[in-house]
């Protein structure tokens, strides 16, 4: 099934479906961007989607989708949640919610910037920390990220302290 841009879709869908020929014209990196675009446009902040639904909506192959979904999950652009349905463990995906209260910290040697912000997903809030590095024009790119749920924050900090004390030279 083709990915349809219609009235029932989210309003901010901006990606038109490329033809096979156009898709082949893209270099791997751009193809990746396009696929991630499509996935993000398919997903919603409010509703969970199973992998099969995403495949159906985008019309792309399963390995392509899983590869790029993983990348989106690791940069905190998409939330993944596994749920037990009967005997099956099924993963559901949704877009990360709105970003609130952003603060930045520069590392001492100035190579990395750590951005702290609150992700509000409606029913739960979490702190997200992104590590960014900058190019010659001081333009940041996200290298990695971690999300800590508000309820887990205390134990996370305790563990981080304990781990830091063990591994960092005093």
């Amino acid at each position: 099934m083709l990915y349809m841009v219609g009235k029932n879709m989210r309003k901010n869908v901006t990606t038109s479906l490329l033809t096979n020929e156009e898709l082949k014209g893209l270099r791997p990196r751009e193809r990746g961007r396009y696929v991630q675009n499509l996935i993000l446009n398919t997903l919603d902040e409010k509703k969970d989607y199973a992998l099969s639904e995403i495949i159906e909506k985008t019309g792309l192959a399963r390995p392509t989708i899983t590869k790029h979904l993983d990348a989106l999950v690791s940069t905190q652009q998409v939330f993944k949640e596994s749920r037990q349905l009967g005997r099956m463990q099924i993963a559901f995906y949704k877009r990360t919610g709105s970003i609130k209260q952003k603060e930045e910290m520069k590392s001492k040697n100035n190579e990395s910037t750590y951005s702290f912000f609150v992700l509000d997903n409606g029913d739960e809030k979490s702190i997200c920390i992104q590590q960014k590095i900058e190019d010659e024009y001081n333009n940041p790119t996200v290298k990695g990220a971690v999300t800590i749920n508000f309820v887990d924050l205390q134990s996370f900090i305790t563990e981080l302290h304990a781990y830091g004390a063990r591994v960092v030279d005093k």
Partner: protein, 441 residues
């Protein structure tokens, strides 16, 4: 990686053919009815721009958006971005204020691919390192034809035909060669992104035929695909002849109505609708404004911007476009320059007449008690400044008076009195523009 900055319209409020509200792109927020000055040089544009924002922040609230040309980045944005985190000896940021402006002001970088068709900046385009090699080569091939005409090896009309063939061969061919197309689009969008552009502008050619409009559609489509997120514009650059044909205008309108992007940017080159005989063209421009209104009223999230608006700046912003860009000289037509009796002094934008008065008129103003303008800049000018000073001050004046003018439009909408904008046009030298506004007969 091209970044995703969510794009949203906030607090829209309409009065007939125009609306108030804000555009949010990522962390930046800018009110509608804003001028995004075209910054073409560091000394004459960038420094005065920052000066105004610093010295007169409340007078420049509707000019907090910037447009750059891609082939001028090395003279404008690049040096600033490279030095933005430099610290002074006591450890403070040397460009603290500029950094803050860059982080709060939406930035657009225009690829200006139309200069493969127009001669004005073709030479610069042909050697500019930021321009993809394919485009540079095209510019060089066309320049070689121009040289042949100059040497008399080709007649003017032979040269024109050859230029046109070369130009069309490249752009029509590019739309067919998907790999090359994606390379050119990606290179240009990547550059815009690395220069902190908040809205992507695809590298579209100057369009004078339905075929070239199809090329534009193709380029926009690929750009949307490779730019991650909502903040890549659909961009159309038209030649002024486009407004001479209703069939062509209808084609454009069909396209504007069909695109998915939230941000739609239009540029009509060398637009001079103030010419008295351009009755038909004014009607066509009105038709475009009406279409812009229809699109926005059907989908509140759509945002329109007119680049190189020139004198059309005021009717465009009161008639449907949310943002406009002009140079700080107020004029956007290629070429021009100083008239012989200007003594190197550029003209003065009259906030009352809405046109640029030549230097000889400004001199008369000085002789009769000073500049007829109450802006922060003009109030400080009591005698004729030096040429260099004047050419900076008149830009700062333009920015402040236009910002104020657009802020007023915001107030008109708030009070549901947009007819005051029509009155302003009636009292200006551009009174024939008032009928261009939608819903006015």
């Amino acid at each position: 990686m091209i970044s995703n900055k969510p794009l949203n319209v906030e607090e829209p409020k309409w009065d007939r053919c125009t609306r108030n509200g804000f555009l949010r792109v990522g962390n930046k927020r800018v009110p509608f009815h804003t001028l995004a000055p075209l910054i073409t040089s560091y000394d004459y544009d960038f420094i005065p721009y920052f000066d105004n924002l610093k010295q007169h922040p409340s007078e420049s609230t509707h000019a907090r958006m910037m447009t750059f040309r891609m082939f001028e980045l090395h003279n404008t944005l690049k040096p600033l971005l490279q030095s933005i985190y430099q610290t002074t000896l006591d450890g403070k940021l040397a460009y603290d204020f500029e950094k803050d402006v860059i982080e709060t002001t939406p930035i657009l970088i225009d690829p200006c691919m139309e200069y493969t068709w127009y001669s004005q900046y073709r030479k610069i385009l042909s050697t500019n390192k930021d321009t993809p090699i394919e485009v540079r080569k095209l510019a060089k091939r066309i320049l070689a034809i121009v040289t042949k005409v100059e040497k008399g090896e080709l007649t003017k009309s032979e040269g024109y035909v050859k230029e046109k063939i070369e130009y069309e061969k490249f752009w029509l061919g590019l739309a067919k060669d998907k790999r090359k197309l994606s390379d050119v689009v990606t290179k240009i969008l990547d550059l815009q992104n690395s220069m902190r552009a908040d809205i992507g502008l695809p590298p579209v050619p100057a369009v004078y035929s339905p075929e070239l409009l199809e090329v534009t559609k193709q380029i926009n489509k690929i750009a949307q695909a490779v730019w991650v997120g909502e903040n890549c514009a659909t961009y159309v650059v038209l030649t002024p002849q486009w407004l001479k044909s209703e069939a062509l205008v209808d084609l454009l309108i069909d396209y504007l109505k069909s695109v998915d992007s939230k941000f739609i940017v239009l540029k009509i080159k060398n637009l001079e609708l103030d010419k008295v005989t351009y009755v038909y063209q004014r009607r066509m421009f009105k038709k475009i404004l009406e279409a812009v209104n229809v699109v926005k009223q059907n989908d509140e999230e759509k945002v329109f911007m007119l680049l190189e608006a020139g004198y059309q700046m005021y009717p465009a912003i009161t008639g449907g476009f949310d943002f406009v860009s002009t140079s700080l000289r107020a004029l956007d037509k290629d070429g021009g320059g100083f008239s012989p009796d200007s003594e190197g002094y550029g003209g003065f934008f009259s906030p009352k007449h809405l046109v640029v008065l030549p230097w000889r008129d400004v001199k008369i103003m000085f002789a009769n008690g000073g500049l007829k303008c109450s802006c922060e800049i003009c109030r400080g000018i009591t005698s004729i400044p030096s040429k260099d000073e004047w050419n900076v001050l008149r830009r700062m004046h333009y920015m402040l008076v236009v910002s104020r003018m657009l802020e007023d439009v915001n107030k008109f909408v708030l009070d549901q009195k947009i007819e005051l904008a029509i009155e302003k046009l009636s009292l200006s030298e551009l009174s024939n523009f008032k009928r261009m506004l939608p819903y006015i007969s």
